[in-house]
């Protein structure tokens, strides 16, 4: 299968360079570090990872997910290998999905390596492990959303730095615009309808409900819809660039 071939190549490429290792180490160190410092995990005494651990993930992903995905199409365009890919008997769609899955796999490795906190909270208390699993799923989906968006931006430019800056900016907005203190300020400035429209773009609502162990249909639809839209958008941009 072409998707698998491209996935394997892209994954090998990630781990042949320092990028993936750096991002994984930074994510693990910061997420666990924040849990015990700003998250005040030990003192709060709550056998739940929702506020001390998972809370930091969107903030970390808005910076790190673009770092993972920025090279996906920018590199191909800069090196000229897009001409190889474009003339192989492989659909653009297979290449897009293969690359997306490789970037998602890198973020999955980073997430899995935070397992010590799960062992810790199970040792210290009796957490709801179902909620923890659901929280990990939510975290992974948030990262995939940001990766998909960054991939869309990387199809637009050969310059990785431009891709990084634009993606970080938009991902930051997606995190901020649903964050409670921000929505409260927004509510003072504009109508409830506008606030609701802005909040619809944010990951918080969907991430938080998964954190609590709730997978609602609207969450699945939001994540699947947004990711699909970005992948289809990537395909459109790549076709348009060649036309």
């Amino acid at each position: 299968m072409s998707i698998l071939t491209i996935f394997r190549r892209e994954l090998k490429s990630y781990f042949a360079q320092p990028t993936a290792y750096a991002i994984i180490v930074i994510f693990v160190l910061l997420s666990l570090g924040f849990t015990f410092t700003f998250g005040d995990f030990m003192n709060v005494g709550d056998a739940s990872l929702q506020f001390s651990f998972f809370f930091w993930h969107p903030w970390l992903y808005m910076l790190l997910a673009p770092a993972i995905a920025m090279k996906l199409w920018s590199d191909e365009q800069r090196n000229g290998t897009i001409e190889l890919l474009g003339t192989f008997p492989v659909s653009t769609w297979a290449a897009i999905v293969g690359k997306f899955l490789a970037a998602a796999a890198v973020s999955l490795v980073a997430l899995v390596l935070t397992f010590p906190i799960v062992i810790t909270v199970n040792y210290l208390g009796e957490p709801d492990n179902g909620a923890i699993i659901s929280g990990y799923i939510g975290s992974f989906l948030v990262c995939c959303t940001f990766i998909a968006f960054t991939m869309l931006v990387s199809a637009c430019t050969r310059d990785q730095v431009v891709c990084l800056i634009v993606s970080v900016a938009i991902c930051t907005l997606m995190v901020l615009c649903g964050y409670d203190p921000v929505t409260r300020e927004l509510a003072k400035a504009t109508s409830p309808g506008t606030v609701e429209a802005i909040v619809a773009f944010s990951v918080w609502d969907h991430f938080t409900s998964l954190n609590r162990g709730l997978l609602r249909l609207q969450d699945a639809v939001w994540f699947a819809g947004f990711i699909s839209l970005c992948l289809v958008g990537t395909s459109t941009i790549l076709s348009a660039k060649r036309a």
């Binding site: 071939t5 490429s13 042949a16 190889l84 474009g86 003339t87 192989f88 008997p89 060649r242 036309a243």
Partner: protein, 241 residues
Amino acid sequence: MIEVVKLSKHFGSKVAVDELSFTVQKGEVLGFLGPNGAGKSTTMRMVTGFIPPSSGEARICGISITADPTEAKKKIGYLPESAPLYNDMTVIGFLKFCAEIRKLSGSAKKDAVERAIETCFLGSVAHQSIDTLSKGYRHRTCLAQALLHDPEVLILDEPTDGLDPNQKYEVRQLIKRLGETKAILFSTHILEEVEASCTRAIIVDRGRIVEDGTPAELIAKAPHGSLTELFRKVTTSDTAA
């Protein structure tokens, strides 16, 4: 094997390729000559399915590149002008990846990669990282990926560009040998390659064919029997007013 029928490409108001038509049969090696900017690479990119034509058709072994690109691309081995490669892979790793993309597996994949390495004299660098290779080896690695699946059609964009005289000779001999059983279209600026490797040649200028014939016919037409003179006569220089 390669049929191009009134192929055109416009970039905005600029006409890069203007109703180009030609065919290349099995056993033919067609040299594609022309000044820079004449539309050679653009034509090749359309024939290989990388960019869509503005109008016209290209068929590979009877399969339309626009209607059924995946099937048509299976029949083509393409060497792009810039010989692009993945710098973070080794030569053998890259060729294995290309073989897998071509749906080769197991011993077929292993044999195809070994054959390509042998044909392109990459044995001494097979396990080296691509970013450490010299230009000649990079070019040959990219040529090797075009040969992996033993395609019926080869489309080579300036295959001897930047190679030293020895390497140029080897590549020309290879093209001549492969041309006996395949349909080959290759572009070049080097007019002596026309006589060395081609069974036919066309000269394009500003997107249109201006000359078409066997090397002997072109030389017969040429002032003082020089292909360079013929080239200069039928094409416009970009320094012309």
